[in-house]
């Protein structure tokens, strides 16, 4: 692709609203105080499974300032689903505001609305709930038993439709290899917990909900249906978001806030504590993965089969869909003639699991990358060489969805990464250093890809509305939900680039359902690829409209009017210039026209985003601690619109990937179903000392549809990191550990086992 010098695109210009964030001036939802606003606090249940048979709220009502006390006895029985992101989606619909059937320890059983947080909290403590307890199924094994207690009437188990390409059972090759991997639950750890503010206006009957969400229209439809209100009367406004990583994709606490606001005709606010955020939002699934492959002697893959079992927790929510999507992601990286995926979702009496950054890519890639690293070892091949034999070429068919992988560069990711990381030299050095001593060194790598759109899972469109103001500045309305990673900045750059005006003249508004055209939500890494295309097309069309207006003013034809740096001029009279401001004023005053444009784009492709991660670790055989010494991520992003913020995304992928692979796990007590970690004290996360000064390399060959060639980066960054780290630890120790996280105790145990085996051998 021809590389053009842009004004803003591809320049590192920091983040949108960075000034507001460094001065503390930006308001997040929890900062939006209002006079007379009421506060909601929630009471957590104390059983893992059972029924609420009574609620004594008299004590709560004695606390001053209490306006409402809600339980299953005085709230609607209406079912909804937190995971539904559009009005037309089918979903399990198993949740109620307060259900008499309690399905996990800590599930909400009551809530209080009061004048202060303290009063609401005190009143919650005074509510007495009477339970009838049922036997609980805490583990997947328990819930799968034939005589298992029924967590839902429809049963505990959901089988996904197998995803199939070719005929795995019948295909054959010289080697058959089997492996297993396991991922534990983790918490998203968005620094901002859930916060929702809701206002119901008695006069107009309008409901407004502010939330730092990913799916404003999805939330609107859930609230409209739940409260039986026309969608036109429900307004959802996305506030500045203090991180999501998937947890703010779902409609978790909005229904309660909206219900209370409507019931009390008031402004209400609910902010989750960290404990609630861990136990009552959702966690990343715990997954067991079984992989079998058939591979030829030269390393060519003939077939692969994966079986996955996901623990959904107490409610199915997104899990059936998540499980199916995992199968759909089987064919994104390698050319494999025969693929088969079987997924099972199991409900247990534990905290709910749900949406997490990369939606299945992380799980499925971990399974097969752990597997391929073992296969390469079996075949005595370098893992990079093994991959080079099997990866997709540009425009290969992505077999599960019958679309192409687009203009992708898997080979280049591997080759550039190998060179930049000095893979071969490091590998050799590590092996030499491991001959003796307390520390063992290892290198590991993994490859991944992800989506840029949700096409063809379903259609994907992007809408934008741009308006030139009468001073020549520009407002762009686009249904965007910036997660904090710079998507608004990217849209501003796209608009400013097309309109050839100063970046400061462009305002991009985040989603507000009362003014924006429809948007599905910012997930599936679709924001830049789809909404970016919409903004680009909208600005291009708007510029044409302005050109026609300028032609009128300049007594010429649009085809003869040139545009440069925000000014129109006739080709033959380059000195007579008409600015956008003058054009807009002329349009309003003389022609009676507003210079605005709305545009829609529909995705026809879903290009892959190859991503290779290379890492080197140092394992302390005395303590079991793993230090990540250095790492490199190579990403084929098409075009980095915000190179600085793309590097930032890579950092977050590494930080989270280190957590998944090495230290983070929310454990559940197998006896009681209690979530054992509900704070940060006992939850290990990678901090500024742990995360190395990583390197990031971008391949920018340009996609044919993406804005200025851009594809996606937001989710894929985390995907190859855990399997690369697993490989590095195994390389260091000579083990095949795949049960994550590889905590010091897991590593020490493996070393002990190794020593025992050695002594048996002697």
């Amino acid at each position: 692709m021809q590389q053009k010098e842009y004004r803003y695109v591809g320049k590192s210009l920091s983040n949108d609203n960075a000034y507001g964030k460094v001065t503390g001036a930006v308001q997040y939802c929890g900062d939006m105080m209002a006079p007379g606003m009421l506060h909601i606090k929630i009471k957590a249940g104390e059983i893992a499974h059972g029924r609420v048979i009574g609620a004594d709220t008299s004590g709560a009502w004695k606390v001053p300032g209490v306006k409402a006390v809600y339980t299953c006895f005085n709230t609607p029985d209406t079912l909804y689903d937190r995971g539904r992101v559009a009005s037309y989606e089918t979903a399990p619909f198993q949740e109620r505001l307060f259900d008499s059937h309690i399905r996990y320890m800590g599930e909400r059983v009551a809530a209080v609305v009061a004048d202060t947080v303290e009063h609401a909290q005190e009143a919650c403590r005074k509510i007495k709930i009477e339970y009838e307890t049922y036997p609980a199924a805490v583990t997947v094994e328990e819930a799968l038993r034939e005589d298992a207690p029924k967590i839902h009437e429809e049963g505990n188990v959901y089988e996904a439709e197998p995803a199939v390409y070719g005929d795995y059972q019948s295909c054959s090759a010289q080697y058959v290899h089997r492996s297993r991997s396991h991922l534990g639950r983790i918490t998203h750890l968005s620094m901002e917990t859930y916060a929702v503010k809701a206002r119901y206006e008695k006069g107009s009957g309008k409901l407004t909900v502010w939330t730092g969400c990913q799916t404003a229209f999805g939330i609107r439809s859930t609230l409209g249906d739940f409260l039986d209100m026309p969608y036109s009367k429900v307004r959802v406004v996305k506030t500045t978001m203090g991180g999501s990583f998937g947890c703010k994709q779902e409609t978790v606490i909005e229904p309660l806030a909206a219900y209370a606001a409507k019931d009390l005709k008031a402004d209400v606010m609910v902010v989750y504590t960290r404990e609630e955020q861990i136990n009552n939002a959702m966690l990343k699934h715990s997954v067991d993965l079984e992989v079998e492959s058939k591979v030829h002697g030269d390393g060519t893959i003939e077939g692969m089969q994966i079986k996955a079992v996901l623990d959904a927790g107490a409610y199915l929510t997104v899990s059936p869909s998540y499980c199916s999507v995992m199968g759909g992601k089987l064919g994104k990286v390698y050319r494999i003639p025969h693929l088969r995926y079987e997924g099972t979702v199991v409900c247990t009496n534990t905290a709910v699991n749900g949406s997490f950054r990369s939606w299945g890519s992380g799980e499925i890639v971990l399974a097969y990358e752990n597997h391929w690293n073992q296969v390469a070892e079996e075949l005595n091949m370098d893992p990079i060489d093994f991959r080079l034999k099997n990866v997709h070429q540009a425009y290969d068919l992505e077999p599960m969805h019958r679309v192409t992988v687009g203009n992708t560069y898997f080979h280049e990711c591997l080759i550039k990464g190998r060179e930049a990381f000095q893979w071969d030299q490091r590998k050799k050095k590590c092996a030499e250093k491991n001959k003796n001593g307390r520390y063992r060194y290892g290198v590991g790598m993994a490859l991944a890809s992800h989506t840029s759109s949700k096409y063809p899972y379903s259609s994907d469109m992007g809408n934008a509305l741009a308006r030139i103001q009468d001073d020549g500045s520009l407002i762009v309305h686009v249904g965007i939900h910036d997660h904090g990673c710079g998507t608004v900045m990217a849209m501003r750059k796209i608009a400013a680039e097309i309109m050839e005006i100063d970046l400061e003249q462009v305002e991009v508004t985040e989603i507000d359902t009362s003014v924006d055209l429809y948007d599905y939500g910012c997930y599936a890494s679709r924001t830049i690829y789809i909404l970016g295309q919409a903004v680009k097309k909208c600005c291009e069309d708007l510029l044409e409209k302005a050109r026609q207006m300028a032609a009128c003013k300049l007594d010429s034809r649009a085809s003869l009017i040139k545009y440069e740096n925000g000014e129109f001029y006739k080709e033959d009279e380059p000195n007579e210039r008409l600015s956008l401001k003058e054009t807009a004023k002329y349009a309003i005053r003389v022609k009676g026209e507003d210079l605005y444009m709305a545009a829609s784009v529909r995705s026809k492709e879903n290009p892959g985003v190859p991503s290779a991660h290379f890492t080197q670790v140092k394992v302390d055989t005395y303590s079991g601690m793993v230090e990540v010494e250095d790492c490199l991520s190579v990403h084929d992003v098409g075009k980095a619109l915000n190179p600085d913020l793309c590097v930032g995304q890579v950092g977050s992928g590494i930080q989270q990937g280190m957590g998944i692979a090495l230290c983070e796990e929310i454990k559940i007590d197998p006896k009681t179903g209690r979530t054992l970690i509900t704070n940060f004290k006992n939850y290990e996360v990678a901090n500024a000392v742990d995360v190395p000064d990583y390197q990031a390399l971008f391949i920018e060959e340009g996609d044919e549809y993406g804005p200025f060639g851009a594809k996606s980066i937001g989710e894929v960054v985390v995907v190859p990191v855990p399997p690369a780290l697993v490989a590095a630890v195994n390389n260091a120790l000579g083990t095949r550990l795949t049960h994550l996280p590889l905590t010091p105790s897991v590593i020490l145990e493996a070393i002990e086992r190794q020593q025992e085996e050695k002594s048996h051998d002697h």
Partner: protein, 155 residues
């Protein structure tokens, strides 16, 4: 209880509940919402403020401890419309993503530079080790702090 203290350079005398968490006092009574709550137990650093020239977790500090003290919050970094060099470098080095950890990070870094204007890389790392950033911007944040120290040296 009436206490006297300064907040971001201004002297204040207020009737307060001494047992209230300093974090809530700052947000609800001083209406300075730049200070954030991340975990409420001193583990994430989002609520870090500077009290008597030391970085403290405002979620673990009681309002009564403010008496006679000097409090600085993120809102106090900018002086007369001029950003603190740390703020400038956070912007310049693209160390700001979702921003929820940013005020705490800035205050930890400010406390470090107040005590040790020329920190080593290792000292910078340790100073912000108690501040979690899930957007993973540690590399950029460290660079921003180092550049700020460098800039102050030049001035």
């Amino acid at each position: 209880m009436i206490i006297n203290f300064t907040v971001n350079g201004k002297s204040v005398s207020m009737d307060v509940m001494p047992q209230k968490r300093l974090l809530d006092f700052i947000r609800e009574d001083l209406l300075l919402t730049g200070t954030k709550e991340g975990c409420a137990e001193g583990e994430c650093g989002a609520c870090t403020v500077i009290l008597n020239k030391k970085a403290v977790h405002s979620c673990l500090t009681m309002t009564g401890q403010l008496d006679g003290g000097e409090l600085m919050t993120v809102e106090g970094l900018e002086k007369d419309g001029e950003l603190d060099v740390l703020q400038k470098m956070f912007i310049k080095k693209s160390a700001v993503q979702c921003g929820f950890c940013t005020s705490g990070m800035l205050m930890s870094a400010k406390a470090l530079l107040m005590e040790n204007p020329h920190p080593t890389q290792e000292e910078i790392k340790r100073a912000i080790a108690g501040n979690i950033c899930r957007c993973g911007g540690y590399r950029e944040i460290k660079e921003a702090v180092a550049s700020a120290a460098e800039m102050e040296k030049e001035e």
